[in-house]
């Protein structure tokens, strides 16, 4: 029984924390949040130089070939720092889509560029509000040409390429779905930047009008390919969420210990003590679920889909609770723009929706349970 990260992995985590605590302060986050840019290009460059974008990419494709456990510890630190860089979209989504569905040639084309930090990639699935269902995918792929519209694509404004879930024959539902890669600088692609809750990340609607697209994986397998991508991304994102939730708890604790009311630290009032205890419980449960996800991801276990849904739901709930009760613990000052609390409140929601809402993951989780103890 060794349900823990190795000493090397912990060392990598410490390095990542040290690096980010220097290069990615909340001032860094605030600059992107309040500025025009959708990410911190300098930080992104350095992250790539550290080799992090290639952590789980096999050496054969220019990566470090370290594996997913290493990527998990880095993800947690990126989450703690609210790093305003297209890491999750490029590494958890785009790169994984290629690893799952890409041909050898496609991997050779794109993965090395990701490892070198030369390519920002993302993933586009939703076309409107509500559940993403096979029959609701109206973006069509025909003869290498893509037409349709995807909404709220994370890092859309700055991405070079996008993997798109598209329909190859109207009305075919799941049977007709296929993934494809599109160069966003190519003809027939229009991007409109979204106004979103979390301005420290960029999002955009992307319209395709006969844009050139190269198929990724087989027609008819687009839905299951996308699900596998999301399962992996959900686990990595869960580490970002757990990292963020832990920072919220630390902020709330630090404030409560140093803020005095009625002559005593507010941390001595049970209303605050028990609030923070609940945060701690949620965060620990979320961390443990994320660990199980990490194990499943790193071993490619059969339990991966259930582990992914559990990690996703648990981490989303923990980050939501910790980020909102951190503001509450701070009181009025915590709701001011000048404080950092709201960055976490907003990132909690962004990370909780960008890979699909809790609701959908819960439904998926129970479906997995039905089959597992059927």
């Amino acid at each position: 029984m060794n349900f823990d990260f190795s000493d090397d992995q912990k060392m990598l985590k410490d390095q990542a924390r040290k690096f980010l605590s220097e290069k990615c302060t909340t001032k860094t986050v605030r600059t992107v949040f309040e500025g025009e840019a959708h990410h911190d290009a300098a930080l992104w460059k350095q992250v790539a130089e550290m080799g992090w974008t290639g952590t789980a990419i096999p050496e054969a494709f220019g990566g470090l070939g370290l594996g997913y456990l290493e990527l998990c510890v880095i993800a947690e630190e990126m989450g703690r720092a609210l790093a305003p860089v297209p890491f999750s979209s490029t590494v958890y989504l785009f790169a994984e889509a290629l690893l799952i569905a890409g041909s050898d040639a496609q991997k050779k084309t794109y993965l090395p560029q990701i490892a070198e930090g030369k390519l920002i990639g993302t993933f586009a699935r939703a076309e409107g509000p509500g559940a993403v269902l096979p029959k609701n995918i109206r973006t069509t792929l025909k003869g290498g040409k893509l037409s349709g519209k995807k909404i709220a694509v994370v890092d859309g404004p700055i991405a070079d390429h996008v993997v798109v879930l598209a329909q190859t024959s109207e009305g075919a539902g799941e049977r007709g779905l296929q993934l494809c890669v599109v160069d966003l600088k190519g003809a027939g692609v229009t991007r409109t930047t979204n106004a979103t809750l979390d301005a420290s990340r960029g999002h955009s609607d992307i319209t395709f009008d006969n844009a050139s697209a190269e198929p990724l994986g087989k027609a008819g397998e687009g839905w299951s390919d996308a699900s596998r991508v999301l399962d992996r991304a959900a686990i990595l994102m869960a580490f970002e969420q757990v990292g963020g939730a832990d920072v919220c708890l630390a902020m709330a604790k630090d404030y409560a210990l140093n803020r005095y009311a009625f002559g005593r630290p507010i941390a001595s009032f049970q209303a605050i003590k028990h609030k923070l205890a609940d945060m701690y419980v949620n965060n620990e449960l979320a961390r443990s679920n994320a660990y199980y996800g990490a194990w499943a991801l790193s071993t490619g276990a059969r339990e991966l889909p259930l582990a992914a849904a559990s990690a996703r739901v648990s981490a989303t709930q923990a980050f939501d609770y910790a980020s909102k009760e951190n503001i509450q613990t701070h009181g009025g000052i915590g709701f001011t723009w000048q404080m950092d609390c709201h960055f976490y409140y907003k990132r909690a929601k962004e990370t909780g929706l960008v890979l699909g809402p809790q609701r959908a993951w819960k439904d998926k989780l129970v479906t997995e349970l039905e089959t597992s103890n059927a």
Binding site: N258, A261, R264, I327, Q328, G331, W337, P357
Partner: protein, 414 residues
């Protein structure tokens, strides 16, 4: 049990309607004003508010419960509720900027000010020529309101000099005057060393800076006072009696804020959204999880609505209103946060969008962004629970370690 007016109430309502028909025009739906705008004092709306206030003051409808000639008709609380119900059907700018001044400051002035002050200030405030704000909260205060540090020092010539800062002040930027709670003696226990004054907000020593909130808006201000001179005649109540004076004022505040319904965002809007959204098992409005939530929130909203009716009944029977205001804010603030988050989850990836791009024009994102503030402003959830526990249920107060301790000896944080 009925929802009908009593004969007297019906008569008054008729009288009010007649007057309103003669002085304003009815409208359909909501009046188009952005509260943020309002608070920032958008000039035109402000002008309209002042004009309408003047008309009401002359007719005695500005402060119905106040005496004739002072903007009132010596009416009952029920009558002002009836007037409010009717007024809300007309296209008028009703009262935003005067609520605090007339609801809290002027009553305090009337209770503790001298005759000259009343002559000078009450009427201009009533008819909307002058606006007042309330200056109690401080960065170090928060839930512990009396823990304030703004100093008022007595000068040789009998005047006072005020230095310090206040925070969370609504409408300071367009106020003419404010009542300010200051510390005049740090060597006695917290509540004993306070004194209340009113000041001229246009004094050069008063520096008003808007506070930007996490939601993006700036409804509140932080205010810095540098050597602001005030006459001793601007003192309200005795030196050292400031806390007793403040209690008169605060009595009204929680009721005022408590009214907040979270912008009316509720189950009705959630249902509108749910009707337009498709989930794995069909339309969201038919989804059992959505229906369960809608029911949970509906019974809380309905419960509040009917609790208000019980209060109004008590009022019309001449009884004191209960603690409903505290209940209302506890229920409404968390409901707004939970319901908005739930709706955004239904919207899915589109849930992160704001404004026009977002479903239902971003109503839920707006509610979700403002809800943390609603859970804090005018008494946090935790303070309100304490208030219910102590004032309604009669449970003991929290253990007080700062009791009988001189203010300047009370432990403070970093």
């Amino acid at each position: 049990m009925d929802f009908e007016d009593s004969p007297e109430e019906a008569a008054f309502r008729k009288e009010v309607r007649t007057w309103l028909d003669g002085n304003a025009t009815r409208r359909e739906g909501k009046r188009k004003i952005d509260p943020e705008d309002m608070e920032n004092g958008a000039a035109n709306e402000m002008a309209a508010s002042k004009a309408w206030q003047k008309v009401k003051a002359k007719a005695g409808y500005a402060r119905i419960t106040w005496p004739k000639g002072m903007g009132g008709i010596g009416g009952t609380p029920m009558q002002s509720i009836i007037f409010g119900q009717e007024e809300s059907k007309y296209d008028v700018a009703n009262g935003g900027p005067f609520a605090i001044g007339l609801g809290m400051c002027i009553p305090t002035l009337m209770a503790y000010g001298d005759e000259d002050a009343k002559k000078r200030y009450v009427w201009p405030a009533v008819q909307g020529d002058e606006i007042w704000c309330q200056l109690f909260s401080e960065p170090a205060g928060g839930s512990d309101v009396a823990n304030l540090r703004t100093k008022a020092e007595k000068n040789a010539d009998g005047t006072w000099t005020i230095n310090g800062s206040k925070i969370w002040t609504t409408g300071a930027q367009f106020s003419n005057f404010g009542i300010i709670l200051t510390r005049t003696d740090p060597n006695v226990p917290k509540h004993k060393g306070l004194t209340m004054f009113y000041i001229d907000m246009k004094d050069p020593g008063v520096d008003i800076r808007p506070i930007k909130q996490a939601s993006g808006g700036s409804g509140f201000n932080e205010i810095f006072f540098t050597d602001v001179k005030v006459k001793d005649s601007q003192r309200l109540g005795e030196v050292g009696q400031g806390w007793q004076v403040a209690l008169t004022t605060l009595m009204h505040e929680r009721l005022a804020v408590g009214g907040g319904t979270g912008g009316g965002l509720d189950v009705a809007q959630l249902m509108t959204l749910a009707r337009g959204i498709e989930l794995e098992d069909g339309p969201a409005v038919k989804n059992a999880a959505v229906r369960e939530k809608m029911a949970d929130w509906y019974v809380r909203s309905a419960g509040l609505r009917y609790t208000t009716m019980r209060t109004m009944t008590a009022l019309s029977q001449g009884k004191q209103p209960g603690p409903e205001a505290s209940i209302a804010k506890i229920v409404v603030a968390s409901k707004l946060q939970d319901l908005s988050a739930f709706a955004m989850d239904l919207e899915g990836e589109a849930g992160i969008l704001m404004g026009e791009e977002a479903p239902v024009g971003g109503a839920f994102q707006g509610g979700w962004l403002s809800s943390p503030g609603l859970r804090i402003a005018g008494g946090t959830d935790e303070i309100l629970r304490n208030i219910i526990a102590e004032r309604v249920l009669g449970l003991p107060g929290d253990i007080r370690v700062d009791k009988d301790v001189p203010f300047n000896k009370i432990p403070t944080g970093r």
